[in-house]
């Protein structure tokens, strides 16, 4: 329907549709806004209601509450507050890291699965600033396997796994900085992104799939 000009009755009908649970077409909403901008009576009656109509009708419409900017130094004050409560005992040390331990354990289980399965294996666990990790994937039908993650900007050309012969799993040793948590996937034949089957803890990889967590 074409809504180049909307009358007062049109705006009222639009709001009525919203009240009944209906949505407004984008063109109708735009015409209603134009009318409300020009008509004082409708502005007084419907300007606020149109914000509700838009929230219900437009995919991804902003919430009616305008986000307020955080003052400078806000996050520093929060971090400071956490540290202060830790020191005073009001916030037990490590309280916020419980899940880290949980995730770490899950990842560690995956690491130790190497003997019986596949996944990421820490080769040099405790020296220097970096950790040598062996990534292993059993994919006998694959023609190529790459490793992608936040450590290589999800670029499949950087870390390419190899295998000694078709009966062996794909492997690659990668040095990664210690003390961080990584999210990674394997890319099979350049097109199939799969999380590490040996890691239980998966997160959204940002590309519509799941990524595996690795904590070093």
């Amino acid at each position: 329907m074409y809504y180049s000009v909307m009358e007062c009755s049109g705006v009222e009908a639009l709001v009525g549709t919203w009240e009944s649970g209906g949505k407004a077409e984008a063109a109708a909403l735009a015409a209603a806004r134009d009318h409300v901008a020009a008509c004082g009576e409708c502005r007084a009656r419907f300007a606020t209601l149109l914000a509700f109509v838009e929230r219900d009708s437009v995919e991804g419409a902003a919430p009616l509450l305008r986000p307020l900017p955080l003052p400078p130094g806000f996050s520093d004050r929060v971090i400071g507050g956490i540290e202060e409560r830790r020191r005073s005992g009001a916030l037990p040390f490590g309280e916020g890291r419980r899940s880290l331990r949980f995730i770490g354990i899950a990842a560690a289980v995956a690491l130790f699965l190497v003997g019986v399965g596949f996944g990421a294996r820490v080769l040099v666990p405790s020296r220097g600033d970096s950790v040598s990790v062996l990534f292993v994937l059993d994919a006998p039908q694959a023609k190529s396997v790459s490793l992608v993650g936040d450590f290589n900007r999800w670029n499949p050309a950087i870390h390419v796994l190899k295998r000694r012969d078709p009966s062996q799993p794909w492997e690659l040793k990668v040095n990664l900085p210690r003390g961080k948590m990584y999210v990674y996937d394997f890319v099979i034949d350049g097109k199939h992104w799969v999380p590490d089957p040996s890691v239980e803890t998966k997160v959204d990889d940002g590309f519509g799939g799941s990524g595996s967590l690795l904590r070093l």
Binding site: T48, F52, L65, I79, V203
Partner: protein, 186 residues
Amino acid sequence: MPETVDILIAKAQGGDSAAFRDLMDAWGPRVLAFMKSRLDSEEDALDATQELFIRVWSALGRFRLGASFPAWIFTIAANLVRNRWKSRSLDRRKTEAVGVELAAAPSGDPSEAALDELRSEELRGAVATLPADLRRVVEFYYFAGLDIRETATALGLGEEAVKSRLFRARSKLRTALEKSQPGKRS
């Protein structure tokens, strides 16, 4: 690639303070707006927002990856607000008061700002007329920007119950907002 909320949370759970700061930057402005709409001063709102993120950090270990982060933090936000009102033993009239800033494009035009303020007052009055069960749904869905599923999660309701309450709220909001205009809908 911007990191997804899940990745940021996972990293923050691992003690990565930079990731936690990113979470605050991403969600703080919306939380602050919500706090300001429910508390009576900017200072209170800021203090409550700060307290919220300290609590989020301390409870982050219990957050299940893949669950709705906004639903979780706004649930904490609503509890914080409720506790603050309770601890101050404010009178019911004040407890019912709901301040709202209408979303609009930032404008340097004083007349636009005045119009925003006028609408805020109008909304404040309209939302305050809603019964508590409808008001909570309106706050989460329309003002905090949660979707139906997140609102349901945050309030411990089914999605159909949220839709039903929104339906009832729409009618009351329209009546309240139009009633404020002389000679209009009664």
